[in-house]
């Protein structure tokens, strides 16, 4: 029982981190029809800038805010310079964002050096609670809380605000929204920035969770996020949180009970979903 709780919490925390990354991907894809392969690069930039700001200022809150700001700025620049010229051409989008991914992760090495950097949580989030035999690591609870919070906020904005209405309408029919006098370009930019900001937030929270950060982690987590997006269904926001939790929890259980299979479990999950439901669990588009 204790093991089950620990494994579930562990898996949930990983799942939430992946969710922060996958949610941005799925928002951007759902509205803009752009598959952003540079998303992992934004994630890694969030991790590096967050860790760096925490080390210089000593405040974890400023670090988180700084990382999000980094993500927003990078998102703005990316949308303006890289994505805008290739709207509507899938192959070019894939190629160009991959090039950006390359530049982003190499730039990390130029700014912060090629070696791994260690990161730790602030004192008030370090350590753990002990309830009988169950050990609950505080930082994991924090990650889960932030994940749920972000999901709640985004879901609220999407369902209950005017901008959310515009975004949802944009997903359905871009041209119609444009014809109604709404500047869809601006909405695109905003959505892209929010997606990038969420990725950067995920990155900043990963640092203290895994203990070390390195430039290649962007691609590693991007692959996980892609798998989640495929399982959940492209463009489906609830799908991405469900799939992220599924991937996180099944990974954590497999790592404990069947370690040899743990690395393949995501692929197997994805393969099964693809065979029976190629559009993903919640997906509408094929």
């Amino acid at each position: 029982m204790d093991v089950l709780i620990n494994l579930s919490l562990n898996g949930l925390a990983t799942g939430m981190l992946i969710f922060l990354l996958a949610a941005g991907l799925t928002l951007i894809f759902g509205l803009m029809d752009v598959l952003n392969f540079a998303h992992g690069g934004l994630f890694a930039w969030g991790a590096y800038s967050g860790t760096w700001i925490y080390a210089t200022t000593g405040s974890f809150l400023i670090a988180i805010a700084g990382a999000i700001l980094t993500g927003l700025i990078l998102g703005l620049l990316t949308e303006r310079w890289i994505i805008k010229p290739v709207y509507g051409n899938h192959v070019q989008q894939i190629l160009i964002t991959l090039g950006l991914m390359l530049v982003l992760s190499e730039l990390l090495k130029v700014v912060w050096g090629p070696n791994q950097i260690s990161a730790s949580p602030p004192s008030y989030l370090a350590g753990s609670w002990e309830l009988g035999n169950v050990i609950i690591i505080k930082y994991r609870v924090f990650i889960i809380a932030v994940g749920i919070l972000v999901f709640g906020i985004v879901q609220y904005i999407l369902k209950n605000t005017k901008i959310g209405l515009i975004v949802r309408a944009g997903v359905m029919d871009k041209e119609m929204v444009q014809a109604l006098g709404i500047n869809i370009q601006k909405v695109f930019m905003l959505v892209f920035m929010i997606g990038a900001g969420m990725a950067a937030l995920g990155g900043a929270m990963l640092g203290p969770y895994s203990g070390v950060i390195y430039a290649e982690m962007g691609l590693e987590f991007a692959i996980l996020a892609f798998i989640v997006v495929v399982i959940g269904g492209m463009g489906s926001f609830p799908g991405s949180i469900l799939a992220a939790i599924l991937v996180g929890v099944s990974g954590s259980f497999m790592a404990y009970y069947v370690p040899s299979l743990s690395l393949a479990v995501n692929m197997l999950l994805m393969a099964v979903v693809l065979i029976f439901r190629p559009q993903g669990l919640f997906g509408l588009k094929g």
């Binding site: 392969f37 991959l98 090039g99 130029v110 692959i223 892609f226």
Partner: protein, 328 residues
């Protein structure tokens, strides 16, 4: 015009064949050998990207299969020609089976799904190579001996060159065959090709199998040239190399892939040399990345494609002039 191009190819091939006998530079020889190996790899990638319009991010998978197969065979058994041939056969079968299974599973999906899935699957191979220590020796990799025939650098250069020429000839024949034409039709307009009664999946899988097998052969030659193999053959960097070469050289032209391979390999060589001048050149991937982004944005047809377009425009203009003359 086609004849003139053929003569040009033959002259280049003959020049490259006699080069090691008239100009003895070990560095150049090794560099050119690398160019030939990556040209094979880039051509195989171009079958997917350039001729069928599929973006794969997992091409390193097949490269790695070839590299590891030859490594394992040469390490476990004697480095003799029969075992070498057996390794080649195993590589061909393995990469064909993997690309076939993968293609059947994923090629039904839209381009971006496919790109993501290939990325994920090649990630799986990388993890497999790192974890299956009894066979792959993990991250460190292992060295192995190769048959005597391939030991001499000049001989190996010639073998790689001839293999490249043969692959070029086979792929050129393939792309101009009726089957290759269908692939190009799929690239241009998938729906229309389907409505003409062609089974898209079937043709895409064929393209992916052929491309996979050729990439496996490139992988064999690569690890033979190093006499060493480690998990880096499965990394994204290898796929990116192929992508860069095809894009810069010219998508949809086999010669473009060869020219791209030459450019990238030489540029890589020079930039690493420049690292002694300034440390920023150690991070040469940044320059590649920027050039690549600019190429996708402003130069989507690459060198060969742009040349072809210029030529086409010129001949059109000449036609117009001729017409004007007749009219006047």
């Amino acid at each position: 015009m086609n004849n003139r191009m053929n003569i040009l190819y033959v002259i280049t091939a003959v020049f490259l064949l006699v080069l090691p006998f008239i100009y003895e530079s070990r560095t150049l020889l090794i560099l050119l050998t690398q160019v030939f190996i990556f040209a094979i790899f880039a051509m195989s990638y171009d079958i997917l990207l350039g001729y069928t319009g599929i973006v794969s991010f997992g091409h390193a998978m097949f490269f790695g299969i070839g590299a590891y197969t030859i490594g394992v065979f040469m390490k476990r058994f004697d480095p003799t020609i029969p075992y070498f041939l057996l390794a080649v056969l195993v590589t061909i079968v393995l990469s064909a089976v993997v690309s076939f299974a993968l293609g059947l599973l994923t090629l039904r999906l839209k381009s971006h799904f496919y790109a993501m899935l290939t990325l994920a699957f090649s990630g799986l191979f990388l993890v497999l190579a790192e974890k299956w220590r009894t066979v792959t020796y993990g991250n460190d990799g292992f060295t192995f001996r190769i048959p005597d025939l391939f030991k001499d650098r000049t001989d190996f250069y010639l073998i790689c060159l001839v293999t490249m020429i043969v692959v070029f000839a086979i792929l050129r024949r393939f792309t101009s065959s009726p089957l290759g034409r269908v692939l190009q039709a799929i690239r241009e307009n998938e729906q229309r090709t389907e409505s003409l009664g062609y089974s898209i999946l079937h043709y895409k899988v064929v393209a992916s199998v052929i491309s996979g097998v050729m990439a496996g052969i490139a992988g064999i030659l690569y690890s033979m040239s190093l006499r060493f193999v480690n998990t880096s053959v499965f990394t994204m960097d290898i796929t990116l190399d192929a992508l860069l070469m095809t894009i810069i050289g010219g998508v949809g032209t086999l010669v473009g892939a060869i020219i791209g391979a030459g450019l990238i390999e030489f540029a890589h060589h020079w930039l690493t040399e420049l690292a002694k001048v300034h440390w920023i050149f150690e991070r040469w991937i940044i320059f590649f990345g920027i050039i690549y982004i600019l190429a996708v944005m402003f130069f989507p047809m690459g060198i060969v494609g742009t040349l072809k377009k210029l030529k086409l425009n010129r001949s059109k203009k000449e036609e117009q002039k001729a017409e004007e003359k007749i009219a006047s």
